[in-house]
Symmetry: C2
Subunit: 330 residues, 2 copies
């Protein structure tokens, strides 16, 4: 293993000089020595030892990213956005996937703390479980006490910089749009009870129906994925419009209705939430609430990197997009 010292010796200069030319020091080095060092480094095939550098500098060039599931396009999009800004800043990204296990989320924060990453990004809905939230906060606080920066894409419950999707407002806007189409009987494929993202979308939608003087929707719980949508849709009846709290669930619902011989949108309208890119060619095209996921991931990392005194919360508005999966009544 070639070390800086090898390079220095080979170039006939001091360790310090070699360090200055090879790594981003502010100090200047004479052209001739600089040349020698570069040649020696190239010849020997020198590669900086980042661990040593991190130790000496007391700061790393890595950021941590914790998501639930990379194969869920929602998180893939957020991760992509975050990784683009990381790359632009010359930072590497360490990724942990929790597969929706909150214990694992906490464990990752701890591990990333040990790695002394520059910043940690938490993507994904918070849970109603206050125990879990408290323990996560403790872990985050401990990390932040020693200079760690944290940002979150999701609900503002951790006392850190947060990019908060407008779940309530978006769902409410969607309800309004759907009501505007003439629908009066709704079902909500509501996701799991403990997931705040799902809850907020349900609440925003339901409250808006109230406000419009429409009857309460049928609320059907299930998992937050395709199968959850499918299963819940199986139990739908007597409504003209179904709101799945995310697009992936809506896809499951579409499949369920197809299997049941129920046509969309002729027999029932279906809307989702998120506007997942990979699903844009679905037939019928899915009405949904668009969230700029990549931007949200990027923005969250920017917030984390740009240290501030107190936690900032940035809301992100969802935009209702009506497509072929919902139709006007009468």
């Amino acid at each position: 293993m070639v070390t800086l010292e090898d390079v220095a010796r080979h170039a006939g200069v001091s360790l310090a000089t070699a360090s200055r030319v090879l790594n981003g020091s502010t100090r200047q080095v004479g052209a001739s020595l600089r040349e020698k060092v570069e040649v020696a480094a190239a010849q020997l095939g020198y590669r900086t030892n980042v661990a040593a550098q991190t130790l000496a500098r007391g700061a790393s060039n890595v950021i941590g990213l914790v998501v639930h599931d990379l194969t869920d396009p929602y998180f893939a999009a957020i991760a992509d956005g975050a990784m683009r800004v990381a790359e632009r800043q010359g930072l590497m990204v360490m990724v942990g996937t929790t597969h929706r296990d909150p214990q694992r989320e906490i464990a990752y924060v701890s591990t990333l703390n040990a790695q002394r990453v520059r910043a940690v990004l938490l993507a994904g809905s918070r849970l109603t479980d206050t125990q879990v939230t408290r323990r996560l906060r403790e872990e985050l606080d401990r990390y932040r006490e020693t200079g760690g920066r944290v940002a979150c894409v999701g609900q503002d419950m951790l006392g850190v910089d947060t990019v908060a999707p407008g779940n309530r407002e978006g769902a409410a806007a969607l309800a309004r749009a759907l009501a505007g189409l003439g629908h009066r009987g709704f079902a909500i494929l509501a996701g799991p009870e403990g997931l705040i993202t799902a809850r907020d979308r349900v609440a925003g939608f339901t409250e808006e129906l109230h406000r419009l003087g429409l009857p309460d929707p049928l609320v059907l719980h299930g998992s937050f994925d395709r199968d959850g949508g499918y299963g819940a849709a199986t139990r739908v009846s007597g409504v003209t419009c179904v709101f799945a709290v995310n697009d992936v669930m809506a896809v499951g619902a579409l499949a369920a209705f197809r299997d049941r011989g129920i046509r969309v949108p002729e027999d029932v309208s279906v809307a989702g939430f998120d506007d997942i890119f990979t699903l844009r060619d679905l037939v019928p095209a899915l009405s949904t609430v668009r969230l700029p996921l990549a931007d949200m991931g990027a923005r969250a990392l920017e917030l984390a990197l740009d240290a501030a005194e107190e936690a900032r919360v940035e809301g992100v508005a969802g935009e209702v997009v009506l497509r072929a999966s919902t139709r006007a009544l009468g």
Copy 2:
């Protein structure tokens, strides 16, 4: 920042003892001292400094993963598989996305080398550009010379452990199946010319048509994504069956045909390749060649981690899956 030394002093033991209880040493420590150390660590909020540990041990607990694009479900699936085995082994994963820029792939290998990661996983098709391949190999060799382990999901061109999807064979089997349905006039949405995965699929398909005595297919190039499939499908005519070299392109083709008023499968059959999970609810359901992507990612990491004398190449067979997007003729 609390260090091991702080903990040791606080517990009234030596640095070595503290190290032994807090980090995974094989050495035993008496119960009473162990207890003291653990209490002290907890009280002080000690967190291992992984950089220091890595430096001292000369080995890190991180693996590197280089993919083209995380938002492409193909890579997301591979990454997910790899990350599951990483997690099982207690390793963290550093991810780099190249966005199909080969320079960036090389740069990431260099950076991961500097990080002294335990292993590097390269996922994604190789290119026909021999210059690029040579430079990548050089960079990999340099990494391997100092103990780095490398594995690749893709073509065996790097001289490293490789999980090689059976692109040719899979495409040939698909051609056979499609011919068995009675199709004789084919078009291939062939992807970019320089991408070997695409090339192999085209070649396997074409050669099998030859072997069956069927006419040459119409070969239409384009990008390897949804838009490439859409664009190429726009130029299709006079055939009964279209083979898109991956599922995402097939989705684009479906959209193009829809826009052109061409019905699938009534007017034209469409098949893809990969069997992307997120697309399984597409209508019409896509005929394709299934690749066990997550397993491939997992297997590649296993290969990399389990050091061997010489590079192993494991072929992975694709399985033809005929669904509703292709129909039998006459």
